[in-house]
């Protein structure tokens, strides 16, 4: 439909989840998710991001990873195979986790998150008492 309605136009722009400071593409980082009995591990490839520009938030069972990256613009590329821009990805966690104990490590362009499960969510072996 036409966005002749100025208010509609403004509202549709306000719904953007990430507000970049300058117009830039937003990329989805590739992520590996591993689950052990105690924790989840997220490993996200985010080359070009800086540790201080990465935001990891956990709210209402949703884990959000975002990074603001300065996009590079050049006029004189001989070959351009990838673009640069921000990173954004969200995950919905069904298992309760302990958000205060989330650890984040950023090295060589890879963000690694250790997300420990809440104590109630870990599987516990039930002891069976044999009838004597």
């Amino acid at each position: 439909m036409n966005n002749n309605n100025a208010i509609e136009r403004q509202e549709s722009q306000a719904v953007q989840k990430v507000e970049p400071t300058q117009p830039a593409a937003i990329y989805t980082p590739l992520v590996d998710i591993v689950e052990t009995n105690d924790a989840f591990t997220f490993q996200a490839d985010m080359p070009g991001a800086n540790a201080q520009d990465i935001d990891v938030t956990y709210e209402n069972n949703v884990l959000t990873i975002q990074a603001k990256v300065q996009p590079q613009h050049r006029d004189n590329y001989l070959l351009q195979e990838y673009g640069t821009g921000h990173y954004y990805r969200q995950f919905s966690l069904n298992t309760p986790v302990d958000p205060d104990a989330i650890k984040a490590d950023f090295r060589d362009g890879v963000l690694e998150l250790q997300v420990p499960k809440a104590a109630t969510a870990k599987t516990r072996k039930i002891q069976i008492r044999a009838a004597s």
């Binding site: 590739l30 591993v34 591990t41 490839d45 004189n76 070959l79 195979e81 060589d108 890879v110």
Partner: protein, 145 residues
């Protein structure tokens, strides 16, 4: 008659081939989308002041995992990405690729191998490839009559 026609067109065909080769040297495989269909890693190359600058995304690697070689006008990036497996863990998502990679790019001029500078930081490889002295354009002095 057919033979005669082919001869006349030969210089044109040669020009066409030259043009094709010029482009092929840079665009070895046409990338179809953002992804490494052209070969891993995807690279951005630009030229400035008698040198080519190259950037590639190589997350999870340090300079020890990557090998850079220069031969004449060819520049090769190779290495291996390993990701530690966790025994007894369940993988919900496995999106990141692992394994050996090697990619060679051909530049239109020879590279001065001794002056190549490379840096790998935050998963971005930055390389400066200066032109070899012999490849730089030289002004020809005109002798006055």
């Amino acid at each position: 008659m057919l033979g005669r026609m082919m001869n006349d067109l030969a210089p044109l065909m040669e020009l066409q081939n030259h043009m094709n080769q010029l482009f092929e040297n840079f665009f070895e495989d046409m990338p179809s989308q953002r992804g490494y269909n052209a070969g891993y890693p995807g690279v951005n190359v630009w030229e400035e002041n008698d040198a080519a600058y190259l950037e590639a995304e190589l997350p999870g690697l340090t300079l020890n995992d990557v090998e850079l070689t220069v031969t004449g006008n060819e520049f090769t990036i190779s290495g291996e990405r390993k990701i530690a497996e966790q025994p007894g863990a369940a993988y919900h998502r496995r999106e990141r690729a692992t394994g050996k990679f090697s990619r060679t790019l051909r530049l239109p001029w020879d590279v001065d191998a001794d002056k190549v500078e490379a840096r790998l930081q935050n998963g971005i490889l930055s390389v400066k490839l200066p032109k070899a002295e012999a490849s730089k354009p030289k002004k020809i002095k005109l002798l006055s009559a």
